[in-house]
């Protein structure tokens, strides 16, 4: 996938905003800056414990805007529906979209709907694009990451991917009640920026690729070494068990309601307090530091007391979880 994007999709479009590879594009307009982001959703199954494709579609784009320091405001919604899709299901999904948008403080202001033949679109595909104004006190980017910074996680990771995988047909011989953590984080992130402003260097939500994907990317692209402490990384017990059963590492699995934050050391406590004061950040924790070493790798101190490199997950990409 990464290769496909690199070699075929991006080159014809190359421009300074696209090339920054941020979660949203930050665009100037008459003195102000806006963030603009888009995502398509092809999750299977459409409904799962803890959420559905509608909640995912709103949360995903809202979060991509929020992690760039923008206040998400307006979304577009594109629907591609398979002929024969149960109306009641569509009603439930639309109710989810509406409720999640209310929760996030955004409005769906434009949209489109198409129907395709039976056998296409696997029930439903959604696309959301979102726009938000950049906060004046936000200055976020990979280049702001410095040695000494602390790395925080807003809560337990891996929940979404595990919950969805266990509901799939191929999870033959498995039964589970695990719930996805899908949630819009505009409120949570707003609180952190209120408390810490420019002391926040970088944020990203650990979706595809999980926590491991985010921290290894930060290490690689900032060029600094990150060191994490395995014992400090929050993972829910139930989700650890599920990962054990599936032979997966929770650090490699997607969350859709969590954020990884790199913050100046002196603001770290303030950031954690702000996170923990919010219902979606009660279990926030400091998970690591940025080291003064031009290594570009992410190290982890293991529970057993050893050290190992944390690697971006690859290979058979976990299909259709977002």
């Amino acid at each position: 996938m990464d290769e496909l994007l690199e070699r075929v999709v991006r080159p014809p479009l190359a421009n300074v905003w696209l090339d920054t590879l941020g979660d949203s594009a930050v665009l100037p307009s008459a003195g102000e800056h806006f963030a603009f982001s888009t995502d398509s959703y092809v999750v299977q199954p459409l409904e799962f414990p803890g959420g559905d494709i509608g909640r995912l579609a709103v949360s995903g784009t809202v979060n991509d805007l929020a992690v760039c320091g923008a206040v998400p405001r307006y979304l577009s919604l594109g629907l591609i529906l398979e002929e024969g899709l149960e109306i009641a299901l569509l009603e439930r999904v639309m109710a989810s979209v509406a409720e999640t948008a209310r929760e996030a403080g955004v409005s769906v202001v434009t949209g489109d709907c198409k129907v395709v033949a039976r056998g296409q679109a696997d029930g439903m595909y959604l696309n959301t694009s979102g726009i938000g104004a950049l906060r004046a006190d936000a200055d976020l980017g990979m280049d702001r990451v410095r040695p000494g910074d602390h790395v925080l996680a807003s809560g337990p990771v891996g929940g979404h991917g595990l919950a969805v995988m266990l509901q799939r047909e191929e999870a033959f011989g498995f039964e589970s009640e695990l719930r996805s953590d899908v949630a819009p984080l505009s409120g949570l992130i707003g609180r952190v920026l209120d408390a810490c402003g420019e002391d926040v260097a970088f944020m990203r939500d650990p979706t595809r690729g999980g926590l491991a994907g985010v921290v290894t990317d930060i290490a690689f692209r900032s060029g600094w070494r990150l060191t994490l402490d395995e014992a400090c990384i929050p993972v829910r017990q139930e989700e650890r068990y599920a990962a054990d059963m599936l032979g997966l590492d929770p650090l490699d699995v997607a969350s859709e309601g969590k954020v990884v934050i790199v913050v100046r050391a002196e603001a770290s406590e303030r950031a954690l307090e702000a996170l923990r004061a919010h219902p979606l950040g009660r279990e926030a924790a400091r998970i690591g530091v940025v080291e003064d070493d031009r290594d570009g790798l992410c190290d982890m101190i293991t529970e057993a007391g050893g050290r190992r490199v944390l690697q971006k997950p690859y290979g058979e990409e976990l299909p259709r979880i977002c």
Partner: protein
């Protein structure tokens, strides 16, 4: 843990010059040792080497080619454990075949493959039966189930291996120095720890059966070191919670009933007598090689690939010129990088910084 590391360091002081080489022959040991950072705790006098313990890695290319060719047959659904998917043979990999339209299905249990055959009576299901004695009983159970249900559309591609003949071949090789074996946990659950008796009594090699947690791995290494120091090789079982001397009798009986030891080709080790599990004559009709008239071809390693030497402990993954350059988990060349139990993938995932940091230090 710290106490174990200290004891290991003390015991091995006399061996600083030549270093003690302990070999593990189990994919799970390979991964867990790397993942938990145990390699960094063993001190400079001990090297924990990875042996031929990864079933997918040791499956000779001729079987991979046979599986891929069968997979590309339009009448066939090829059922396989996940790890086999990306190993590349003469005619591509199962994954490549799948993306070109072949019916290749990943199963987590041999019985799932049998269910596939029941659900698709119009297709022939071929199950790629790869794995050691831990996994072979599952195939045996599946075969008996197929007989019970009288299914005419199920066969296996028999690639099961027995670990002991490979261990014996390695200790008999003067180029490979092994001071002791960390014996596999789950293979031993099935076979029983007495399996390794010939290595201790015949070849005079210390053998310790150990569990998978880092603490258990370190403990096993300490016991191996103690044995070396005492000069009297023993067969020790440090995983008695699940490993007994005779193993799982029901599983062994099933193996006896369905399989008979035969010659088998291993990557890097060549053909080892009695090292494979062939179907008994009364089950030959369920052998895919027979049903489809498959001719097993030649084995050929990709040029430059040193998987063979990695598998026999002759070199470390980092010593292969392709490692982390042309050969990465995203674009693997040899099976040791493909398999999640392979030494190269484990090294790449958890120990890649070693080479880089060593370079910086020197």
């Amino acid at each position: 843990m710290a106490a174990l590391a200290e004891e290991l360091a003390e015991l091995t002081v006399p061996f600083r010059e030549r270093t003690l080489r302990f070999m593990e022959v189990c994919g799970t040991h390979t991964v867990n040792a790397c993942r938990s950072g145990v390699h960094g705790l063993v001190g400079s006098a001990v090297t924990l080497i990875s042996g031929p313990g990864c079933p997918v890695c040791v499956t000779a290319q001729r079987y991979i080619d046979a599986a891929v060719d069968l997979g590309r047959d339009a009448s066939v659904i090829l059922a396989t454990y996940g790890d086999m998917l990306r190993v590349t043979g003469r005619n591509g990999s199962l994954e490549a075949a799948r993306s070109e339209g072949a019916s290749v299905r990943v199963v987590t249990s041999a019985l799932e493959a049998v269910r596939l055959a029941e659900r698709h009576p119009d297709r022939q299901v071929v199950f790629a039966a790869v794995g050691f004695e831990t996994t072979a009983p599952a195939t045996a159970a599946a075969i008996l189930e197929v007989r019970k249900r009288r299914l005419a559309n199920f066969t296996v591609l028999p690639c099961h291996k027995r670990i002991l003949p490979a261990m014996e071949a390695l200790v008999s090789d003067p180029e490979v120095r092994i001071d002791g074996f960390l014996c596999p946990g789950h293979v031993s659950v099935v076979t029983g720890s007495e399996l390794y008796r010939p290595l201790v009594d015949g070849h005079r090699i210390p053998c310790v059966v150990g569990g998978f947690e880092p603490f258990q791995i370190m403990e096993a290494l300490v016991h191996l070191a103690r044995q070396v120091v005492s000069g009297a090789p023993l067969l020790e079982n440090l995983y008695p919670q699940v490993v007994t001397p005779e193993g799982n009798r029901v599983a062994r009986a099933l193996l006896e009933r369905v399989f008979v030891p035969g010659d088998s080709a291993w990557r890097a080790l060549g053909v080892i007598a009695g090292s494979g599990l062939d179907l008994r004559p009364e089950y030959q009709d369920l052998d895919a090689v027979v049903r489809f008239g498959v001719t097993l071809g030649e084995d050929r390693d990709p040029p430059g690939c040193r998987c063979g030497e990695v598998l026999t402990g002759r070199c470390r993954p980092g010593d292969c010129p392709l490692f982390a350059k042309a050969c990465t988990p995203v674009r693997p060349i040899g099976p040791c990088m493909v398999s999640s139990e392979g030494a190269c993938q484990a090294f790449f995932r958890y120990r890649r910084n070693e080479r880089r940091r060593e370079a910086v230090v020197s």
